[in-house]
Structure formats: structure tokens, C-alpha cells
């Protein structure tokens, strides 16, 4: 586990967060185990990248952190306070101000009938960041300039359909910034954008991190961008966090067979078409409805052992800033 000194610096501490969705019928109720015992922490001014395939539980995790959906079990410590206990029913306005979300699809997250100014003025009014209209207008222009949308006055009066995808995503970031958050949860912010403008948005996130000390949880399925922007990388598979740590440690020494598989699947022209025999795993993500015990990756794992089908491995520390949940390592440590 992470040491106590680190915990005091962390802005967000998630412990054993679990989400089950009920499915099935009254006669035979079933549970979708979307997120299972997920723990991670985010340090001040750091970007934590949550990496995984679709259905791995990344989005469900941050939706619980943003308190858009209730958690089944677990604790969310924000600046040392267990917010699920202190604000059990609904998050307070103060929490919503400090924790902001950016969604994947900039075409769906802006209202087509309102101007950009309206989108940015709303949080300012709701959170009482500005009162008279002149002050609001100035603040809106300032925000647009922060996200490099110029000329700000002209952009503010436009409607979402008059902007390109990249510009809209910048508006979404500006909207999150409007209330001076300390933590931004970004859910695949670049996956819907054209390739040539993706880097611009990533660089903007990086700049906000270094200049303003805002912490980010960055969700992606793309390990390369996770490495580019993330200080920490957490790999999720079928609702479980299987490996985590400093991004260079993970990229340099991917230890979980799933991380290795994921890494070998990324097209990398610099390395040529690699056929890493170690990382060949056929098949697809298992069903999350009432899953069998043991490691969720056991069915696909090229190095599966008997124990993997019975018990979920505990966290094994490889290096101080690098841990993995795999029986291959629990034996060694």
C-alpha cells in the first residue's frame, strides 16, 4: 500500500471502490460487476491515466468519483475527507466545484441552442464566481483565452455547431476551468477528435497541470497518449485494476500479462511489426455478469496457473512506485 506521507499530499484517494449494476429478472437476479475493489490516489498537480479497453470500468470509476452515480461499496477521500460519509446523499456544491468532468464527445456535451458564452456563464453564476454581466463577460473571455480560443469575444457569441471538434473540446475544458477546480476528470477527451488536433488538447491539459497545479484523471484506451501525459498509469481490466505505478516504470517494465498484451497491440512503426510471442492472447473481454472467482484475465492469459482460476491475486509491489495484481508476482514477493 501507499505510505502515509504520500497520502497527505494526495488530493484524491479512492479505496476499494466497487460498483455492481443489477440486471436479470426478479426470479433470477444477476449483478454486473462493473468496478471491483478499485483503489488509487491522485497527487496534487499530477495526471493519473486510467487505461483499459471498453467495458473495463474506467468511465464507471470516474463517474463514481464525480458522484454522478452512487458507489456500491468503498470510500472516496477528497482532500482527506471521506465524501461518501460526509455527504452521503448527494455531493455538495462545493465538491462539484472542486471536481469537474470533461466528457468524451464534444458534439454531445454542449447544448446546440445556446451560445458558448451561455455555456461558460452558467457555472460562473451557479457557483457565484461572478455577479454582474460585465464581470461575467470578462471572465468568459479570459477563460476562452486560457484555452487558446482567439479571438475570445467572437468565439463567445458563436454557437457550438460553428466550432470544430477541437474547439468544442476546448470550450468544454474552459467550462470545467470556470469554477477553479482542483481536480478534473477527463473521460477520453481526445478520442473523438481529428488526429492532427489531438496533441493540442493534450498539451493544453499538460499546461494547466504545470501552470495551475490542477490534478487530472485522464481516461484513455491508448497507452501511448497515457504515457505522453500521465505521471502515473493505472491499467484496468474487466473492472479490476491490474497494474499501476509511475508511467515510465510501467512502460519500461510492463509486468501484468494483460499490460504486456495491451502494449504489444499498440501500432508502433518505430519498432516495426513486432510479433511478440509472449504477448499472444486470443479471445475477448469476459462477461461481467456474475463473473467466476479468480483473476478476470485467467481465461486469456498465456501464463495462467491453477491458482488464477480460484483466487484474485493481491497487490504485489515490484518497485516502490510500481505494483501489479498477478499470481506470477505474489509468489515471488
Amino acid at each position: 500500500m501507499i505510505t502515509a506521507t504520500l497520502q497527505t499530499k494526495s488530493i484524491l484517494d479512492v479505496r476499494n471502490l466497487t460498483k455492481h449494476f443489477p440486471v436479470g429478472t426478479f426470479i433470477s437476479p444477476k449483478q454486473v460487476h462493473a468496478v471491483e475493489n478499485v483503489s488509487f490516489s491522485v497527487q496534487r498537480g499530477q495526471v493519473v491515466a486510467l487505461v483499459g479497453e471498453s467495458g473495463s470500468g474506467k468511465t464507471t470509476t470516474i463517474r463514481m468519483v464525480a458522484r454522478l452515480i452512487p458507489a456500491t461499496e468503498g470510500e472516496i477521500f477528497f482532500k482527506g475527507v471521506d465524501v461518501l460519509k460526509s455527504e452521503p446523499h448527494e455531493a455538495s456544491l462545493g465538491y462539484r466545484r472542486l471536481v469537474q468532468l470533461i466528457f468524451q464527445d464534444p458534439f454531445a456535451s454542449l447544448n446546440p441552442v445556446h451560445t458558448i458564452e451561455h455555456h461558460l456563464a452558467r457555472p460562473l453564476v451557479i457557483h457565484k464566481k461572478a455577479s454582474d454581466s460585465q464581470e461575467i463577460h470578462n471572465r468568459v473571455c479570459e477563460l476562452l483565452e486560457t484555452v487558446e480560443l482567439k479571438p475570445a469575444v467572437a468565439i463567445a457569441s458563436r454557437y457550438p455547431h460553428q466550432l470544430s471538434g477541437g474547439q468544442r473540446q476546448r470550450v468544454a475544458i474552459a467550462r470545467a476551468l470556470a469554477v477553479d477546480p482542483e481536480l478534473i476528470l477527463a473521460d477520453e477527451p481526445i478520442s473523438m477528435l481529428d488526429v492532427s488536433i489531438r496533441m493540442g488538447v493534450l498539451n493544453l491539459i499538460h499546461r494547466l497541470k504545470t501552470e495551475r497545479g490542477i490534478s487530472f484523471v485522464y481516461i484513455t484506451h491508448d497507452l501511448a497518449s497515457a504515457r505522453y501525459i500521465g505521471d502515473q498509469i493505472m491499467v484496468m481490466y474487466a473492472g479490476h485494476m491490474v497494474e499501476g505505478g509511475e508511467s515510465e516504470a510501467i512502460m519500461g517494465n510492463p509486468s501484468h500479462p494483460y499490460t504486456q498484451l495491451l502494449l504489444s497491440a499498440v501500432p508502433d512503426p518505430r519498432a516495426g511489426l513486432r510479433t511478440d510471442k509472449n504477448a499472444q492472447a486470443r479471445g475477448e473481454v469476459p462477461s461481467l455478469i456474475d463473473p467466476p472467482p479468480g483473476c478476470p484475465f485467467a481465461a486469456r492469459c498465456p501464463r495462467v496457473m491453477d491458482i488464477c482460476r480460484q483466487v484474485m491475486p493481491e497487490q504485489a509491489v515490484i518497485k516502490p512506485e510500481h505494483w501489479v495484481r498477478c499470481h506470477l508476482f505474489s509468489i515471488a514477493s
Binding site: 479497453e53 488526429v195 496533441m199 501511448a224 512502460m251 497491440a265 501500432p267 518505430r270
Partner: protein, 314 residues
Amino acid sequence: MHVRYLTTRGPVRAVDGVSFAIQPGEVIGLAGESGSGKSTIAHAILRILHPPALITGGQAMFEGRDIMQMDDAELQQFRWSKIAIVFQSAMNALNPVMKIRDQLTDVMVHHGMSKADANQRAVELFDLVGIEPKRLDSYPHQLSGGMRQRAVIAIALALKPPLLIMDEPTTALDVVVQKDILEQITRLREKLGFSILFITHDLSLLVEISTRISIMYAGEIVEKAPARELFEKPLHPYTLGLMNSFPSISGKKHDLAGIPGSPPDLVAPPNGCRFHPRCPKAMPICEQIAPATKTISSDHSVACHLFDSQEGAK
């Protein structure tokens, strides 16, 4: 090849004077952003564009015949038996209320195969793309995304076409499944010897799979080169920008710039070189005159004023 989309705001010049050739057994990669006209080309080659799209000029020669000149009956026979296409969203390319088996045999029966033979071939095809033949009697929603994509590839291969057009075949899939399918495609190509026109926005993917690559920007091909050479020695500033838009998983971490601005409006594309408003190396001439395509070496050509003086030079 020229294609226009007729809109109320005037014709959109979606594809403007694009030429390329595909040799037997080759994988040609066509890369570009959304709206650069890559899919339009694919659809134009098969003449499956619908109004308001209009092919306003150009030829598509296949084994010595111009597809654009074929009449309807000829075209019916030609499509799928000579050139088949794998669409972008395989999920939606399949009919949700028809069993996969019927969708597979449909195309073969249409081209004059008997029902029994078609069924036999369907089993072979599923074997080929690595799905259990018993899955033939499933409906599309019972298959995972990766399996549906394989099924669509099986349908495309049904008549053993010498050329397969793949329009972003893996965009909607997870990386691991994508890798799986790409390996499968490569194996099938080695086994069956067809050519592929591979269309995608993911340049790093193309460098891995194709032999030659053409880069498209705003309806024009700006650079053409063998895959390796393009990757190691990109010339056009747009190609360079694209290369700088993909973080790598190996090697040293460095800041990537991407490309500032956004792709142009093709109703009124910029004068001169269409890339000049976003180009870091734009010169006065770029705003006025569209650069001609220059041949740098036998297999490498680029349309950019930076290379005006280098034409023909090795």
C-alpha cells in the same frame, strides 16, 4: 479522380484530382483526417456514391477497363467479384434481422452460385477468418464487435476478389482486437494474394501494414512514398505534422506539437496550397499557386513548394 458533393452552399470539392495505382498483391495505405476525402475515393471507385455526390471526372481503370464507363449490368457483375469493400462500421454494415449465414450466401447466390455451394463456401470462409462455423446461424447482435468485423471480412472475401478496399476496418475496435484482425488480414493476404486499399487516419497503423502510403489532405494527395521511406523521411509539412501527432510507446519522450488550426472548409478551400494556413513553413508563393506534384525519387513524390528546386534530384 474528381468528386463533388453538391450542397446548398455550393459544390464541396471532396476529391480533387487524385491519382494512384495499385499493383497486384500490394497494400496501399491512404491516410488523412476526417473530411480529407479518403472514404469518398473508396466509394467512388465502386461507384456506390449517392447524390448529392457526383463524380465529375477521372477514370478508375481495373485490369484495363474503366469502371466509370461500365453500364449497370456490367457493374453488378463487377462489384464484389473483382473489388469488394469492408466498411468502416462493420457493426452497422450487417443487417440486424438476418442471420449471418444468409447475409454471406446472399452475395454468392446473387453472383450465380447454387445455394448448397454457397453454404459450403460460407463454412470455408468462417474457417478462414477464424470464427467457429456454428456461429453462422447467429444474428449480428449475438456476436462481439471483433467477430462482426471478421464476418464482414468473410463476406468481402466470398467471391475471391483480387482487390479489397478496407475503409477504417478497425477504428471502432479495441486495440487488442484491432491487432488480432490486422494480423488476420495480413495472413489472409499472404495466403490468398489479394491487394488491399487500406484507408485509415492512423498513420502508425499504416506504416506497419502497408507497402506504399499516400497522404491526403483536403481532397488532394500531398505525398506518396513507400511506407518505410515515408516514415523515416517524411517531406511534406503536413506529413511531418501527422507524424508529430502520435505519441510513441517506446523511445524518448518529447513534446509533440500536432498541427495548429483545423482542416479547411472544402466549399471554399484556401487558394494556392490548401495546407498553407496551417503550415509552419508557409512561404508567400504557397498562398497563390497550388504546388505541382514533384518526383523526388522514383517512388517518392510530394506536392509542396519547398521541393520546387529538388525535382528529379536524388
